[in-house]
């Protein structure tokens, strides 16, 4: 990955903005599926209305997927805007709302935006420029950031998403993006005619459509500076539910698309992204088991010691002897990995134009693997026992 980054380092420069005076600009529909989003829907639509793009070429299609709160009333207040179309349907899941909007669309490009996300005003111009640069590109994924990381859970996600922007950019260079995220991915409309609409896909339709595009050799790229802000879960419970859905969805989709693994025709998606992701998940589980085992061993030894000699807390000794420094193959590799992780973070900060504080980074590195292990283990459990996940 780092080799690829070095090879394509020039592509990290800012994406040029498409000329809005250009009469050949493609028309765009943004579909906003929503279910019980009364708190965020208006701000989401407002951010779309503020997009720097010719108004006659941008439509917004809001699809209420049978909300039970006041989302529909909030949506109705927007219907007088000529750019906006509103629809209400029976609840059928996010993918059905997306498909409803897509089938109504007649524009060149169709995008989707989750109703808890907001776009930066220049995002669409940058993404359209990418489509114009390469006519083979069928979808563009944006750079997703966390909206107002105002507590520890969100701050950790902020670090994670910043890394995500960096990783996604490299995957884009390799032609190996495996998710077109719900917040503001844009597609050429014709791609749906060629490969079909969104599917339920174990509640991860944005991953499934990306894998289906790879199966049909459709190109997906990333626009690293088209920023979209999403409201991250603010509690561990909500985060766990969201990530369980994502991880379980990834595992099930990986099985459904197992033909992509190590398939020369599909390139790096099968040789790098998918195996790398599976190995990472298994690695976290193994690391968790090992940590619990070593922790239990140390605790047991301490309890045994206390039981025979009593508890005698001592101040740490400062007599440093290099002989006892824990330097071995494992610690050297770990240190090198940490250096690479920090270097990547610095690179990610530059690309994502973010600002990560040391406290959040430390928390992310030290605790996040253990937090993540909870939903990863549960995902494997659900996979084995065929238990599906819920959206919320």
């Amino acid at each position: 990955m780092l080799l690829t980054l070095f090879e394509h380092r020039k592509s990290l420069s800012p994406t040029p903005l498409v000329n809005t005076q250009d009469k050949s600009l493609p028309t765009v529909t943004i579909v906003v599926p929503c279910f019980n989003e009364q708190n965020t829907i208006q701000r989401t639509v407002t951010s779309l209305l503020q997009l720097d793009y010719p108004k006659n070429k941008l439509s917004i299609s809001i699809v209420d997927d049978g909300s039970t709160d006041s989302t529909w009333e909030k949506i109705q207040t927007l219907q007088n805007n000529p750019q906006i179309e509103i629809f209400k349907k029976e609840n059928g899941g996010k993918y059905t709302a997306l498909n409803y909007g897509i089938t109504k669309a007649t524009t060149d490009l169709v995008g989707c935006l989750d109703a808890d996300s907001f776009v930066s005003s220049d995002a669409l111009r940058k993404m359209v420029q990418k489509f114009q640069d390469n006519t083979e590109v069928m979808a563009i994924a944006p750079a997703v950031k966390i909206w107002k990381p105002n507590n520890m859970i969100r701050s950790v996600q902020y670090v994670e998403y910043t890394y995500g922007i960096f990783i996604k950019k490299i995957f884009s260079m390799l032609g190996a993006i495996h998710v077109t995220p719900g917040p503001f991915s844009i597609f050429r409309r014709k791609v749906f005619a060629e490969i079909g609409l969104f599917k339920h896909a174990h509640n991860t339709e944005d991953m499934e459509i990306a894998l289906r595009m790879h199966r049909h050799s459709k190109k997906i790229e990333n626009c690293h500076d088209a920023f979209v802000y999403t409201v991250g879960p603010d509690t561990f419970r909500k985060l766990h539910t969201q990530r369980l859905r994502w991880t379980y969805g990834f595992l099930r989709n990986s099985i459904d698309y197992k033909d992509l693994f190590f398939n020369k025709k599909n390139g790096n998606i099968g040789f790098l992204t998918l195996p790398f992701s599976v190995i990472s998940l298994v690695g976290v589980v193994i690391a968790l088991i090992l940590s619990i085992f070593i922790g239990a061993q140390n605790l047991s030894a301490s309890i045994q010691r206390w039981s025979v000699v009593g508890f005698h807390p001592r101040l740490p000794s400062f007599n440093f002897d290099f002989f006892f420094a824990p330097i071995n193959g494992f610690t050297l590799i770990t240190t090198l990995s940490l250096v690479i992780a920090i270097s990547m973070l610095i690179g990610a900060q530059r690309i994502a134009q973010g600002n990560i504080c040391l406290r959040d980074f430390t928390f992310y590195m030290a605790l996040y693997p253990f937090i993540a292990a909870t939903w990863i283990v549960r995902s494997f459990y659900n996979l084995v026992f065929m238990k599906s996940t819920s959206w919320r």
């Binding site: 080799l3 390139g267 045994q304 010691r305 025979v308 000699v309 005698h312 193959g329 590799i333």
Partner: protein
């Protein structure tokens, strides 16, 4: 897959392999340096003991006041800690570790003999503990016993504790076992007046070692193994 990608995968594999090999070579070199360090400590101890024996012979006819614990080796404790570290790092069956451990055991025996000669010369009762454990057998009580002995060494800095692996296959240790009539039961503690088997608590050890309370003075030597091998 493009040709460029294949070249990149090969290059990434070579770079990663080089990093791993370099890390493990460095680690190996470091272990070798540590072993060298232990060897040099053992040599220093050997010279210390030889020097003490010579000093003892020279002062044979002198007053007992001219002797002190300080003629006993000062570095056995450091050596014990380093060997314990290497045992954990490379394993108890590592040939190099076993070799250094045999040498260390011999140095302990020489220190023990010297201490006894000193005690006889000055008509004082020797206060040492010989501890036998086994690395070949499962011995959960040996772990507990090691905690007790390490604690006692901290509490009584002048108490000399000698720890021996029963199965180290060293004739000097076998002789020590025969002399003290130590059975093959672990942990075994050879105390001044008797041999105790199985886990022995702090209180029991204190009860069986006469004048142990006098050994809490830290002014004298701090040697022998304060970190007792846990196996």
């Amino acid at each position: 897959m493009k040709k460029n990608d294949i070249i990149k995968y090969i290059l990434a594999f070579v770079i990663t392999g080089t990093i791993f090999i370099t890390a493990f070579l460095l680690s190996d070199r470091l272990s070798a340096n540590r072993m060298e360090n232990i060897r040099s400590v053992e040599d220093r101890i050997s010279i210390d003991i030889l020097s003490s024996e010579t000093q003892f012979a020279l002062l044979r006819d002198s007053s007992c006041k001219q002797f002190s614990d300080s003629i006993l080796s000062q570095e056995l404790n450091t050596l014990a800690q380093k060997l314990d570290f290497m045992e954990r790092d490379l394993g108890t069956e590592n040939d190099e570790v076993l070799h250094l451990k045999r040498y260390y055991s011999l140095l302990q025996i020489k220190d023990y003999i010297l201490m006894h000669q000193l005690s006889e010369r000055c008509s004082i009762k020797p206060t040492s503990i010989i501890y036998f454990y086994s690395n070949k057998e499962e011995c959960p009580d040996c772990v507990k016993q090691a905690y007790v002995l390490s604690y006692l060494r901290e509490k009584y800095p002048r108490l000399r504790v000698y720890a021996f692996d029963y199965d180290l296959n060293l004739s000097a240790i076998d002789t020590l076992i025969k002399l003290n009539k130590v059975e093959r039961r672990f942990p075994a503690l050879v105390l001044p007046d008797n041999v105790l088997y199985g886990f022995t608590s702090i209180e029991n050890v204190e009860k069986h070692v006469p004048n142990i309370k006098d050994l809490s003075n830290t002014n004298a030597s701090s040697s022998a193994s304060s970190t007792i091998s846990t196996k």
